[in-house]
């Protein structure tokens, strides 16, 4: 007799594969190729890819079902077979399929082992040593990450690619920390955050290319511009709550982008602004040969020129800016304003009853968040040396918001971890081409499944009456 559970599992796996086939036949099965000017487009059939994918989906689903029913060893075995198949020299039509097969196997093994790991982690956390490790982990994680970030450029890994990625991640960390003030602390769902980023970027681009102002002079100005835009937008819309606010901010973000796109006289429209000067170090520029009347950094320091110096400099600028954002936020949280932000997130009606002006409090959160986006924006312009409205689309706002939400609303470390996962992971898989967005989606799904309240869901009080561990709090 066949085990009825097995039959049920097989049926379920077959059904899943069928759904995947229906969805995949058009997405994966056909590809249009350009066969020259006369013939136009023709189909290229990729049914082998589809078939491999379906087999993987069938066995993957079967393994997941087994793991869910407690049949761990068969699930692990199936996962290992899949990893082996992915890593084997077997001829599959594309390299991506190898990755896909192996990744499916890895996920399956993780899923099968998870209950044990979960139990073990929980059991370990309850032992006295586990508790100590836990507190050290939560208290020192930030410092450890900071240490890694500071020494990173001097490690052997610090090649062009890694430094570029570091700058990119730190930019998103900074944006995440800025948006965290608005969304995480004040609880205002802002879907147009990238608008303030754009204002900062264009402020620097225009002031530097047309008025010859330097990066360090424009940086505070850009922050102020963005903050005033924040107040300007905030005034009429902040009486809205929740979904309504989200829609209006979404619209505002698009309006800014469309203005940048269409006001050609001012912003040069879709062609963008190029030849934006980079940031200087005490007046010295980062270039092989200095423009007239200037000095290059390598001349000033008496070291041979190397392209990576500029990147390292940019890396430290954005690290510094991000740290300023973080310190400022940490400080604000302990001030009456910061507490009022959080109180507003918790209950606006109660705030009003306590005599707190909700509009002003929201405006400060909006303006402060916008200011940091402005700083980050002018850094972005100085780094890229070319900006166009295309860099400020809605997807950017969505990614920053995803970093904040998945990091755990209001958590500073959570933002860092989420930025590394959501920005670093897809960049790491850049060789996979378009499929790298799968890595983005995968990171998101994994966080949502395993940490539904965000990576760091714990809220640290802004003030304590009793020292930690003296009883009172459990």
């Amino acid at each position: 007799m066949v085990d009825p559970r097995l039959l049920k599992m097989l049926k379920d796996a077959a059904l899943t594969a069928l759904v995947a086939a229906a969805l995949g036949i058009f997405i994966v099965g056909f590809r249009t190729v350009d066969v020259g000017s006369r013939a136009g487009l023709s189909f290229q059939y990729e049914f082998v890819d589809l078939a491999v994918a379906l087999v993987i989906i069938f066995f993957g689903r079967l393994g997941l079902q087994m793991a869910a029913m407690g049949l761990r060893w068969p699930a692990i075995a199936l996962g290992i077979v899949m990893i082996a198949a992915g890593a084997s020299p077997m001829q599959l039509p594309s390299g991506f399929l190898h990755w896909f097969v192996a990744l499916g196997g890895v996920l399956l093994v993780i899923r099968a082992v998870w209950p044990w790991a979960d139990q073990a982690i929980h059991a370990a956390a309850r032992t006295p040593t586990g508790r100590i490790v836990n507190t050290i982990g939560t208290q020192w994680l930030g410092w450890v990450l900071l240490g890694i970030a500071i020494v990173m450029p001097f490690t052997p890994f610090a090649d062009q690619k890694t430094m570029d990625l570091g700058v990119l991640i730190l930019t998103y960390v900074m944006l995440g920390w800025g948006l965290n003030i608005v969304v995480g602390l004040a609880g205002l769902l802002d879907l147009g955050y990238v608008a303030f980023y754009a204002v900062g970027a264009y402020a620097y681009a225009l002031l530097s290319t047309q008025h010859g102002l330097g990066f360090w002079a424009v940086l505070p100005l850009a922050g102020m511009f963005s903050a005033s835009f924040g107040i300007l937008l905030g005034f009429p819309v902040l009486r809205l709550r929740g979904d309504y606010l989200a829609i209006v901010t979404l619209g505002f973000g698009e309006i800014i982008r469309l203005v940048l796109l269409n006001w050609v006289d001012f912003t040069n429209g879709p062609a963008g602004i190029g030849t934006i000067p980079g940031p200087t170090l005490f007046g010295a520029v980062f270039a092989e040969t200095a423009p007239e009347g200037k000095q290059t950094v390598s001349e000033m320091l008496g070291i041979p020129f190397h392209g990576i110096h500029r990147l390292i400099f940019l890396y430290y600028i954005i690290l510094l800016l991000a740290l300023i954002t973080n310190l400022f936020t940490q400080r604000m949280r302990r001030l009456p304003v910061g507490r009022a932000w959080e109180a507003l997130r918790e209950d606006e009606t109660a705030c009003k009853a306590l005599g707190i002006n909700p509009t002003n409090t929201k405006l400060t959160a909006f303006a402060v968040g916008a200011m940091f986006a402005g700083f980050a924006g002018s850094f972005f312009a100085a780094k890229q040396r070319f900006i166009s409205p295309e860099s400020f689309t809605f997807i950017e706002s969505a990614i920053i918001l995803a970093i904040v939400v998945l990091g755990g609303m209001g958590s500073q470390i959570g933002v860092v971890l989420a930025a590394v996962l959501l920005i670093g992971l897809p960049e790491w898989f850049r060789e996979l081409g378009n499929y790298r967005m799968l890595a983005f989606g995968l990171a998101m799904v994994l966080i949502m499944v395993f940490r539904p309240r965000g990576l760091i869901g714990h809220r640290e009080p802004s003030i304590r009456l009793h020292p930690v561990g003296s009883g009172g709090s459990g």
Binding site: L335, R339, T349, N357, R464
Partner: protein
């Protein structure tokens, strides 16, 4: 008794929602150092009166005067100004704490305006100037004093949402008191409390009246609370005031008995 100037004067208060008349020409007053209870059957308009006094509703007709350092016309003020300037604090029928914030933080948020001024609208605070330090310490001292009074000192660093129900009720009152109000409006503070907690609440309210010397407006269904501690009772029914006076007198009022119980006169006596 009548020589004392009232703290809050409600004159000809009327509130209409479209065609529905929630409050119809209600006038009463509350004195300082007294507990004025507003009672009435469900839907009588008690909470609507509170919402008018605390600025959540704009009354259709009527004048609401709070006598403090000057006379505040509450119906002309914005919601948050009533708490900030006129210093009217309130609690809610369904508790409205800041659940994710700790007990202490809840009490500090209540002192927002004072602290905001001391922190130079955050500038002094960001710079870490001693002006703000001193003010914050004073605010913590006030919060600590209230935590001792409501017996929650040991729970100061717990999230407010984790507290048991009765403790949340007490905390909400303490939070309102931390705004250092002239008038405290309590919307059914005894709802859902067991008899022991209810007795503790009575003591707390009496001490607020006698020690802190402020006026209290109290909406309550629990007659043991109303009859034991209130100095003055206003009875509403269908948006109208049907009786007013000392508790013992109101208790015997035939109109009140009719409103509550139909015609049975004995049940309300004990």
């Amino acid at each position: 008794m009548n020589a004392v100037t009232p703290l809050i004067e409600v004159e000809h208060l009327t509130m209409r929602f479209g065609g529905l008349v929630a409050i119809d020409d209600v006038s009463f007053s509350g004195r300082p150092r007294e507990i004025t209870a507003i009672i009435g059957p469900n839907g009588a308009g008690k909470t609507t009166v509170f919402n008018c006094i605390t600025g959540f509703y704009k009354p259709t007709v009527g004048r609401l005067t709070l006598r403090g350092d000057r006379d505040y016309l509450l119906e002309r003020m914005l919601g948050h100004e009533i708490g900030q300037r006129a210093r009217v604090a309130r609690t809610f029928q369904n508790i409205r704490l800041f659940p994710a914030m700790t007990v202490l933080e809840n009490l500090l948020v209540a002192q927002h305006n004072k602290l905001m001024l001391a922190s130079g609208y955050s500038v002094f605070g960001l710079l870490g100037l001693p002006v703000y330090r001193v003010a914050e310490e004073a605010a913590i001292a006030l919060a600590r004093a209230w935590l001792e009074r409501i017996g929650l000192l040991a729970d100061a660093d717990r999230p407010a949402g984790e507290l048991p129900y009765g403790a949340q009720r007490r905390l909400e009152i303490a939070r309102a008191m931390c705004t250092e109000p002239r008038l405290l409006c309590l919307d059914e503070p005894a709802a859902g409390l067991n008899p022991r907690e209810s007795a503790e609440l009575n003591q707390l309210l009496v001490s607020i009246r006698d020690r802190d010397g402020i006026g209290v407006l109290l909406i309550e269904h629990d007659m043991s609370v109303v009859m034991n501690i209130s100095n003055h009772v206003v009875v509403l029914d269908y948006g109208r005031k049907i009786a007013e006076g000392p508790p013992a007198e109101v208790q015997r009022d035939p109109a009140v008995i009719r409103a509550y119980l139909g015609t049975d006169e004995e049940a309300i006596g004990d």
